[in-house]
């Protein structure tokens, strides 16, 4: 009986490694991170429209076996564009600005990286979320660039082990850190203030 259970467990574990994982990644909408852009008087932004410019658009990471071979894909329920666009929209709203269709500023750009990595240690494993995107803030009437920058969001968690729930949290934290970098960008706040005047 014990052998039977052991075989079943082994089969189940192996099967997991070959099954794609789809993570419900989303930013923390209750975070309400406020930064220098909140000091700029209210501006209207169009909903962000970002291009997926990742080198690998099929997945956000790999499941790997003990030999480092890729066994299955890790993907997200929502597209990476929707995840980041929603997060940027919430960040602008949290900082007192408006997001409307007929806005004075458009936000375009690209998602350059949205990746989940694992680093194996002796006793622990590190799960790392790494996101990079480029945002172009443009005057809607002239299409002139007001401000453009590359933003990164990284998050690392060292644990004894973890599965999909942990991976989802790691990627969500990376999105939140990306948003912090945007909201905390002094140069963006200065450019928006200059544009407003």
């Amino acid at each position: 009986m014990r052998k039977f259970i052991l075989i079943l467990l082994t089969i189940f574990t192996q099967a997991c490694a070959f099954t794609d994982a789809t993570l419900p990644v989303q930013h923390d909408s209750n975070a309400n991170t406020v930064g220098p852009i909140s000091e700029v008087e209210i501006l209207t932004f169009s909903p962000p429209n970002l291009e997926d410019a990742r080198s690998d658009k099929q997945r956000i990471g790999w499941k790997k076996n003990g030999y480092g071979q890729h066994t299955a894909d890790i993907t997200t329920e929502k597209t990476v564009q929707v995840i980041i666009e929603d997060a940027v929209t919430d960040a602008l709203l949290d900082n007192g600005h408006a997001v409307v269709e007929d806005a004075s500023i458009t936000i375009t750009g690209s998602i350059d990286r949205f990746w989940f990595e694992t680093d194996m240690n002796f006793w622990t494993v590190e799960f790392i979320g790494d996101i990079q995107c480029t945002l172009d803030f443009k005057d809607a009437s002239t299409s002139e660039t007001i401000y453009s920058s590359v933003y990164t969001g990284t998050y690392k968690r060292e644990v004894a082990g973890g599965l999909e729930a942990t991976w989802t949290e790691v990627m969500a934290e990376a999105v939140d850190n990306l948003i912090e970098e945007i909201v905390f960008d002094d140069a963006l706040a200065e450019a928006l203030e200059e544009y407003r005047q």
Partner: protein, 210 residues
């Protein structure tokens, strides 16, 4: 005579305004507990744990040891090229400047001072250096890792839970590209340190937390 009265009144108003503004400053005591270690995570970041599969824990131990030694060799190569004062100069100075620009009065804690009022920010430096952030392209970023706590000394319910910070620089380069340009290597490291300091300062200024 009347002019003297007017000038005296104006000086009094200006002095009072200045004093009121100065007294509005939030005092933040900053304590740095420990020091940051320079590290390079290259082979450990690309590990596939094959040793663990072949020979269990002993195999994992052997593999982990080999990878650590390989990374130590890279630390030996890179460390002499970096500006040793970077952590203090760029991280702490940026933190100080940013906080003071937003009406905080930063006071650095010496061994004998025990602050009783204001905010207490404690930073626990961990490591900083360079790390592979993309195992496919083997591109590296400068990184800074530390923990921090923020406590309101007048509020007994104020939490002191440690918060992890892991910040990487925007630019990504190969190990060889970094080695070939010492200026670039230091610029990347300083960029990550400044970014980390600004992040923690802005969290305190705008969100009253770390």
């Amino acid at each position: 005579m009347k002019i003297i009265h007017v000038i005296t009144a104006l000086v009094t108003i200006l002095f009072s305004a200045h004093f009121a503004q100065a007294s509005e400053k939030t005092i933040i005591h900053i304590d740095v507990d420990g020091s940051a270690e320079f590290d390079v995570l290259y082979h450990r970041a690309t590990s596939n744990a094959t040793g663990a599969v072949i020979a269990g824990l002993i195999g994992a131990g052997i593999q982990s040891g080999i990878e650590s030694n390989q990374d130590s060799a890279k630390v030996d190569v890179m460390e002499p090229m970096i500006d040793k004062a970077s952590w203090r100069t760029y991280f702490l100075d940026t933190l100080n400047t940013r906080l003071e620009s937003k009406n905080y009065e930063a006071e650095w804690i010496g061994e004998t001072i025990e602050p009783t009022e204001g905010l207490l920010l404690t930073i626990y430096p961990d490591n900083y250096g360079f790390k592979i952030v993309d195992t496919k392209t083997l591109l590296m970023s400068a990184f800074v890792q530390f923990e921090a706590t923020l406590v309101n000394l007048q509020d007994e319910t104020s939490r002191s839970e440690k918060k992890d910070f892991y910040v990487t620089s925007k630019d990504r380069r190969t190990y060889d590209a970094l080695l070939s340009d010492k200026v670039l290597m230091n610029a990347d490291l300083q960029s990550a340190l400044r970014k980390a300091a600004k992040r923690i300062a802005n969290k305190i200024i705008y969100n009253k937390e770390v």
